[in-house]
Symmetry: C2
Subunit: 233 residues, 2 copies
DNA sequence: TCAAAAGTGTTTCCCCTACACCCATGG
DNA sequence: CCATGGGTGTAGGGGAAACACTTTTGA
């Protein structure tokens, strides 16, 4: 018997799923992508995009695959959240799920709408419909993680286009934290962090003064170990 | 066909394990519990306590069970860490593992030694032996989580006996963070947090002035949302 | 000229930090 | 009386918070 078989015989095996909480900011609200279930249980209910992990597929790869089945987005920020392993999560029987969350910006979103097959839509996190399984709990958990992490990392930039105004950036923080932020303090702190580069472009919207566009200099999401915490203002 | 069967037929199923990083403080060092593997692969190598999740067992319950197979500890602080889902972690084939970490104090430890069957021992996190699988990585991850979380929660108390001196508490922080801490600042900050209650007891050790014993007032691990961050001093 | 958002500095206060000596006890 | 850890206060600096007016543009 090959060594490969030693463990896989005689031990319990489990159905393992992935579920992805995909966040974006749209119309000044934080939203999540939900898909309508085509089969029982919870047929017709809204649920998180997700599915079963393949036999020879890594869990991370499965999460990415599910995301790409629902969208045409690439280069998404995707992070593992938590594994929900209670025995009674799924009425059909024992299904573990490894939850992820992901962040995209509206530019990336435009691509998506054309390609969708099954019904999917964006819902404000403060106005969620009834959800299948324990997906409401998973979203709550994702939101908590996002709120914490925005304070000491640069994930907020994942929700913005490549070029953005400082007001857009501030709105991202406000929408996620659910609080107002002082404009002058916010701008000073952001500029002190040294992760913004001003461009020579401006964004005109209506009849106000045009706003300067900035880009994010760091190539990836980074941890801010300086005291550059954003939270209370 | 009952609904229970709908999903469990025709889909990939996976072996799912739990692994637990059990920390304690002993002799002024942060240590983890390791057990010697009895079978191939990695036979004879040190590894984290852990095992396969049963068919009808929740993942949390499995982690707790593994802990109790190795120790007689109850009321342990146990927290899920991360799910390692690469396809090549285990040479026998595909095995997912859900990693946990746990914290115990020396009082609880004394109970343990009598009951152990298989070989197990405590190793300083800075002097780990060669480890089976990707367990080294799991320990590193657990340590990182612990170092972060000690700054904004009260988990450090899980490593101390019910009554402890302020010096013991400070040593716990120093051992975990790997840095020295200013005694006066530490004591002031801890007392300001309002989570310590002085007892009327003192601990005598040798020929010095006896140290007052304190207890932790909060019933559970709590988040410190005040600015009571502990880190830099 | 008006509406609407962009952009900009200063002061106050509190918290973090650095730092050194006396106390109580057992041997 | 001496060695050992227990226990205590203060002064200075820096970052966070509060706060309001001018600028630029299109209509």
């Amino acid at each position: 018997m090959p060594a490969t078989q030693a463990l896989t015989n005689g031990f319990a095996k489990h159905a393992v799923a992935v579920d992805v909480v995909l966040f974006t900011i749209q119309g000044g609200r934080l939203k999540v992508l939900l898909v309508r279930r085509q089969q029982a249980p919870y047929k017709g209910a809204w649920s998180l995009p997700g599915g079963i992990v393949g036999a020879e597929e890594s869990v991370d790869a499965a999460a990415l695959r599910e995301l790409q089945e629902e969208t045409t987005i690439s280069n998404v920020y995707l992070e593992q959240l938590y594994t929900f392993g209670d025995t009674d999560r799924d009425p059909r029987g024992r299904v573990l799920t490894v939850a992820y969350y992901a962040l995209v910006n509206q530019q990336q979103l435009e691509l998506k709408a054309r390609q969708r097959v099954s019904e999917a839509d964006w819902f404000p996190v403060r106005r969620l419909p009834e959800l299948a399984f324990d997906h409401r709990r998973i979203i709550d958990y994702a939101l908590e993680r996002l709120r914490n992490k925005i304070n000491y990392t640069t994930i907020a930039f994942q929700l913005l286009p490549t070029n953005f105004t400082l007001t857009q950036l501030q709105e991202a923080y406000e929408v996620i934290l659910g609080t107002r932020v002082d404009k002058r303090n916010f701008r000073r702190k952001m500029q002190q962090l040294g992760i913004l580069r001003p461009t020579r472009q401006f964004r005109v919207s209506g009849r106000q003064r045009p706003a300067r566009l900035y880009t994010f200099t760091a190539p990836k999401v980074i941890k801010l170990q300086e005291k550059g915490i954003i939270v209370p203002f």
